[in-house]
Point group: C2
Chain length 494, copies 2
Amino acid sequence: MFEAAEVGHRIDRETFEAALPALRVSLLEAQWAVHSKKAFPVIVVIAGVDGAGKGETVNALNEWMDPRHIRTVAFDTPTEEEAQRPRMWRYWQALPARGQIGLLFGSWYTDPIVDRVYRRSGKAALALAVERINRFERMLADDGALILKFWFHLSKDAQRARLEAIDRDPRHTWRVTRADWKQFEHYDRYYAVSEQVLRETSTGYAPWQVVEGADERYRHLTVGTLLHDALRKHLGATRRRRPPAATSTAPLVAPLDAVTVLGRLDLTRALGERKYERELARWQNELARLSQGKGFGKRATVVAFEGMDAAGKGGAIRRLTGALDARQYRVVPIGAPNEEERAYPYLWRFWRHLPRRGRMTIYDRSWYGRVLVERIEGLCSEADWMRAYGEINEFEEELVDGGGLICKFWLQISPEEQLRRFEEREQTGFKHHKITAEDWRNRTRWPLYQQAAADMIERTSTRLAPWTLVEAEDKHWARIKVLKTLVERLREAL
Amino acid sequence: MFEAAEVGHRIDRETFEAALPALRVSLLEAQWAVHSKKAFPVIVVIAGVDGAGKGETVNALNEWMDPRHIRTVAFDTPTEEEAQRPRMWRYWQALPARGQIGLLFGSWYTDPIVDRVYRRSGKAALALAVERINRFERMLADDGALILKFWFHLSKDAQRARLEAIDRDPRHTWRVTRADWKQFEHYDRYYAVSEQVLRETSTGYAPWQVVEGADERYRHLTVGTLLHDALRKHLGATRRRRPPAATSTAPLVAPLDAVTVLGRLDLTRALGERKYERELARWQNELARLSQGKGFGKRATVVAFEGMDAAGKGGAIRRLTGALDARQYRVVPIGAPNEEERAYPYLWRFWRHLPRRGRMTIYDRSWYGRVLVERIEGLCSEADWMRAYGEINEFEEELVDGGGLICKFWLQISPEEQLRRFEEREQTGFKHHKITAEDWRNRTRWPLYQQAAADMIERTSTRLAPWTLVEAEDKHWARIKVLKTLVERLREAL
């Protein structure tokens, strides 16, 4: 893949200066079109060998375009906040919003490549990392992003010469460090590993462009032109966008008899007052004990609650937080996304609130809204929610890999019980605010929601992040089951 | 102040259990009223001696109310990200939005008190810290916040007994550390310093409530009742809110002859093409050199641009960023605040983007919008923008104190030049998007904007953060003046 970038591409000053003004105007116009329509996010990955002029070219792009709508981010050693969260967290935080251009140095490619070069990881680990990168970029592309990846290449001789030249230049010595020279010793291995990674991650939706780094004018003009052409093409494609193509997700088939895993739950399960109080004390104490132990500090715990309106999510959450120290947890209620959140892929706002190790985030409704309310109410396209099953599994896998523990609860009630609770709420002073017209409307779509929930459970109950189905007709039973399950999952994990 | 909290307040179980159900319902209703109307933010500061049950009471509040709209934050040793920014940065990040309740452990009171107890700071430093706290809380209150501050107190004997008891209880030993016992040795001094700080910061808009911590039931019920009463009272006051009272800010008086500091600028200043190119290269090189030096890494640089539409802010910014490495700076364009930003005090979104040390944030329009566009277009009340002068000075003082450097540029052009540029933009392909109907409308209010700018400069040009007035009729002159000023400020500071 790198051979074509070792041929000594050059552009002379005259050609460069003749081409530049028109390119700048076109680039600016294309950037403006993307920005003014908030058309899509532009993700530009900048990678390659040291000394190949990555920084200079990024500076040129910032100079040629409007820097107010560019976000340049350089990833270095993870900060403390970053190290406490899953590996991908900091990349999610750095994603550009729709209408913005993100120039990312040292992206999600750095660790997999460097780990393999220094033999800190094996072949299988690299293959897995590549697989995950492809799925991540696929998700971004499916969400509409334009993804460009530039690899700045130098032949071994050229790199040596470049490092020496920078070393000699007194204005630049700060740029070449001992680490750079150290890394140069591994040139051949670095070459082999990155070539493999590039080959395996150069996809139709996120292709790599290898750019020879030796000549500054060639490098600048090549990157500028490729970026411009890609912006134009993507703007055109977005305008003409057909209804999204059928995805590669297996189709959903509703069972003929309409019996789902939810219908099989035994909703008569209940607990009497006295037994409930005893069990509540027991499991809350146990949860308190676990949350104060050392093991808890090593895991980031994520708890998600889903269920029909009035299924008792709030009550269950309060019994759970009642056992914890308020400094350890955060409850995040999920409603319709706000303005800012809508400018990012839908998982962005959940990444944002992920707990650090030693903390717990409790989501009252969650990322599963995509395959429940958004599916039923038509808030996103079928292709969007169909691919969400896979994206969600991927997301949860990342969490668990990053030291997380996930508990997901579906609270099941019957339509009759929901009606009873709605009416009760309307009559109880401080609860009447809990019932809105929307709740009554959603109620009419009960079977659709039930089918969506059954599909969701089938597709996203994984070994790493299983669903717990909770018989919630009796609040006591439900609350104890939630507490007990959480305690058991924690015990197992810590 | 603490004597009344050493009398041995107790509440027996019966009284407690009789009072609790009604209190919980009332608290929940009050919380709901605040939340559903997004009425105001509720800021609850939790402080006091170790072992006085702060954590337990916060847990009780979370249990009694809806934890989904409560944000509990405990401040510990600053993280790396926090340490790189001004002292108040992390508190701004933790402020609750309108409709939320923030329970803050270890607030802005901790450092001033602890530093004085351990004699790391003198009397004057403490006095200054107190003064700043009062101004900060005043700002929050003026913005509509309800501020409650609870000090959990224990007599010396009671604290010793409490620490020993916790120490003995196997379930709780994790809570008492050697540091707690070490701190106990300083009880008397801690008592004296905190009494002074409490006295001097207990204001009408943010009063302290000292709560005796020995008896859990007394503590819980007292805090719950005080919180409930304050919520109710503030809800009432907000509903009846008169037009905001005259502020304590000195009134603005327009000069009779309408001559302002802006009118005195010599707009004929200009630079020929050749001289401009030479100067540009010179100052950009100098800026590049400074930004690569060691001193730069120790300062957080903030640059703000203001000026009428088409004054050349964008062009000046690009000449400035052209000299920098894209990884060092971020350009933040400021428009109307979004949904999320509107839920916080207006300075919140500027705090949010503050650079860490070694970085530069360039604001294209800034926090001065409050006293310019918001004033002229009536987007906030007169009292709001009148008090903003003081709040802004305070904000900039915090930045400089926290290792920051601030450069503020006002770019001045004549109305005739603006008209010429508007027309030129409308005719130039890739610039036509820069002109909107709003620009034409704002133009009709030229004298009002000029007067507002003059008032702003008079009130906010301080020694720490002076305004630089830039004659911008000639773009060359303006760009060089901006670069040169920034270089000189940096040189002086580094």
